[in-house]
Symmetry: C3
Subunit: 344 residues, 3 copies
């Protein structure tokens, strides 16, 4: 029994991470390799040669195929043997490596975990800000040594910003604003509305407006493992509301947590925005800054995981601020129990 | 079943190690943190926030309280919640972290392991030379990767000095002098009397006397895990005896071994003396020199532990020189079996 | 149930590795130490003092004996106590450390694993090129983090040279030449005959002849764990055959794999040759070059072992090129099952 779902799509990589050279990455406990064919379509295979198990990611690309570095078994992009180690040996086409179904959408490479015949791209979570023509989106990949659900907890409430990020993005108002938690099917929404406040420097500059603003943070959990955070400000006079707030500047922090092992995960972080979308320098600075902020989270999360190991008699507790994470974990547990195949 | 006692006091730290900032230390398998209140009294808590288990030692001190670095739960020195992560949430005073009873005595901070209601400072071992007004005492803390009982074995016979410390404090006479072992209740005494010998340089200088001396080494094991070694010399003419030897210069090496895990411990080493007690430079040099001598012991002890793991079919054997360690281990084992609460 | 044989000889070291100072090496899971007596005979003992288990290899050599660095127990070359830690204590001659039977042959120090009374030097595998007067032999020791049988697989087919050593000793002809596999009792022979080819630079220089040659590679597995590879070239006109090929220049690569643990081994590699046998510089260059080639094998083998751990659901598969390794593993497994005592 794993802590993650099967029959679902997980993000394996950013689209920019997968190229001609093989990328090796363990997804849900399974070593996989990813590369692009000449037509740019993506190949995903078990990262172990079916012959003697050497990681295929050490191999040599030939056309759309890959040749193992050890004895030279050549496998096609369908995972089936194309050449045996001994050039003259007849090819045994029952020799093959497990392949995985992938799909590119929303700037990510998704991989299907579960029964192949149930893989349906329609089940990929709708992370629309990542691919909307009026928005720009970029981000990074981080390998984190903790259970992916600890990161969901972290993201489903931003109270921690005050303490963990006291030197960077924290702001006391965040702690003072009331929280609303709402569950809608497999989604959890955790909203914080901060009316008529002085915007922090980042948002003041984004809005190019000096007066008081309404500010919002809406964390949304999406199965199997995404958190999208709708953040932004609008001039008070614009009359924005929690349900309708396109009057000002909006960002969408998009986080996807893919389990690597029971105590580690791949963290895909990106930020989409609907302002200054052609400002490439802004995009690059945002990504770089996030690296610094994120180092603070990583330290906390990895020490939390280590502390769970060192205190096996203690349990995580949930208070009011944790309701978002609690609901998200309930939905994950229910989906695992039901053998559910992901979002409808 | 652990290899250490419960319902007993163990040394957690030197008094100088515990200050305003939290000190994190695992004692008998339990991660703990220690800090001083404004009135200098010591607080000891489980080093895991009751909320999400982040080590509290990463937190921020506020007055006598500590605030978790993750979500800002604030705990008082009694371990009880004083502020919730969300400022407006009512404080739930059933939220608390486990605290531990401590007591300062003999320059050490002691922590009670076991049932709180049985904690009694009268049960703290009487390490009198550490706090006697006519003596001066100082030392250091070392983290050692071996079972604490291997260090007791090491200290309960000083024969090893000849071999392990051949380049520093070893002296052949130590091996040649006969040993007497005596058990008195929960104490073990291992005595070596070296009459009419030329003193080694250290003792000659301490005594400020050039002629022949009587020299002694009396190792004393004290539950749960201390070894005090009465060492010194007196001019032969002074007529010192094993039972009465205050005529010359005396030192008391005080060693306390606190289990960290089954294969590691905290070693508190200090030396008390009744001569040159106001010579601060002498005290500092002694502490520094001991660092070098001790590195030799550490290498041997950690390799011994590694060898025990590598040779699981072999057992430690005891010869005549080991009678002190054997007796001490018997007393420990008996006290564990009896659920005994420490020295009377 | 181990993956290696008992009642057999394994190589413990090169003869040049064992000297006056103790050499510590774990053989078949057992920490051992090796040193030479004054008469150059070799002592092999469990590397753990029978007293408190400190590795004896940290001790001090005294004459033909060794004295433990911890308490000074002195053990003779027969493993029996000669002096107790306390000089005046009567020596208890029942105190002893386990010793192992060794034998020097073919430039190696062999150690007998199993029942002492069955140790017979006649059972040492006949690695004749290592000690033949018309041949010269030298090589090195490498510690490799993989099951010793993966190295046997590697050596029992040289197809991998094309891929693993593409930048150094690989040559496409190796892959194209047909393979013959023959089992003769406990030996496996895997032969490749490459008639009338252009010799690679190494062999052309060795032969001092510029024309076409016949080239051969004959891998021979020998219980418990040796692979000898007969390699060389002869001018086509000389009429060499697979069975008789002393007309040109011959080398014998001698590989011996001694298990250290289930997932690591000692790899003894050497090359014997029957040409330029007095050219010391050639011998040294060969040994140095092999270090570079071998680093390529090591990377592959250790990653193969790691991949086996990461993909516990997958099995090693064997194709035609693996028949040599498959046969060798069958012979090993049969010998283990039969409790067989090595080659006849």
């Amino acid at each position: 029994m794993t802590s993650w779902l099967t029959n679902t799509w997980y993000v394996a990589a950013w689209d920019t991470e997968v190229d001609t050279a093989p990328l090796s990455r363990t997804i849900c406990g399974v070593p996989m390799l990813f590369y692009r064919r000449l037509d740019r379509r993506i190949v995903a295979m078990r990262d172990a040669c079916p012959h003697r198990l050497l990681p295929l990611s050490l191999g040599i690309r030939e056309g759309d195929s890959i040749r193992c570095k050890y004895h030279g078994l050549k496998l096609g992009p369908d995972g089936v043997a194309e050449e045996m180690p001994l050039a003259n040996d007849p090819v045994n086409r029952s020799i093959c490596v497990e392949t995985f179904i992938t799909h590119e959408r929303h700037r990510f490479v998704w991989v299907w975990i579960g029964e192949r015949e149930r893989a349906d791209p329609a089940l990929i979570p709708d992370l629309w800000p990542c691919s909307h023509p009026d928005w720009v989106f970029d981000g990074d990949h981080y390998a984190i040594a903790c259970d992916y659900r600890l990161m969901i907890d972290n993201l489903m409430d931003l109270t921690h910003e005050t303490h963990v990020h006291s030197g960077s993005i924290g702001q006391p108002e965040i702690m003072e604003a009331p929280l609303t938690c709402r569950v809608d099917g497999d989604r959890v929404f955790l909203s914080r509305w901060m009316p008529d406040i002085t915007p922090p420097p980042f948002w003041r500059d984004a809005l190019r407006h000096d007066g008081p603003v309404d500010r919002w943070q809406i964390c949304q959990f999406v199965l199997p493992s995404a958190v999208m955070i709708d953040v932004g400000v609008a001039p008070v006079a614009a009359g924005a509301t929690l349900d309708s707030h396109d009057q000002g500047v909006r960002g969408m922090v998009v986080d996807f947590m893919t389990p690597e092992t029971e105590e580690s995960h791949h963290y895909f972080w990106g930020m989409a925005r609907n302002f200054d979308i052609h400002d490439v320098g802004f995009t690059a600075r945002l990504k770089r800054q996030q690296g610094g902020v994120f180092a603070e989270d990583r330290a906390v999360l990895e020490q939390q995981q280590a502390s769970m190991r060192a205190n096996p008699d203690l349990k995580l507790r949930a208070y009011s601020i944790d309701q978002g994470g609690v609901r998200a974990r309930q939905i994950i547990a229910r989906a695992i129990a039901a053998g559910k195949e992901g979002p409808p």
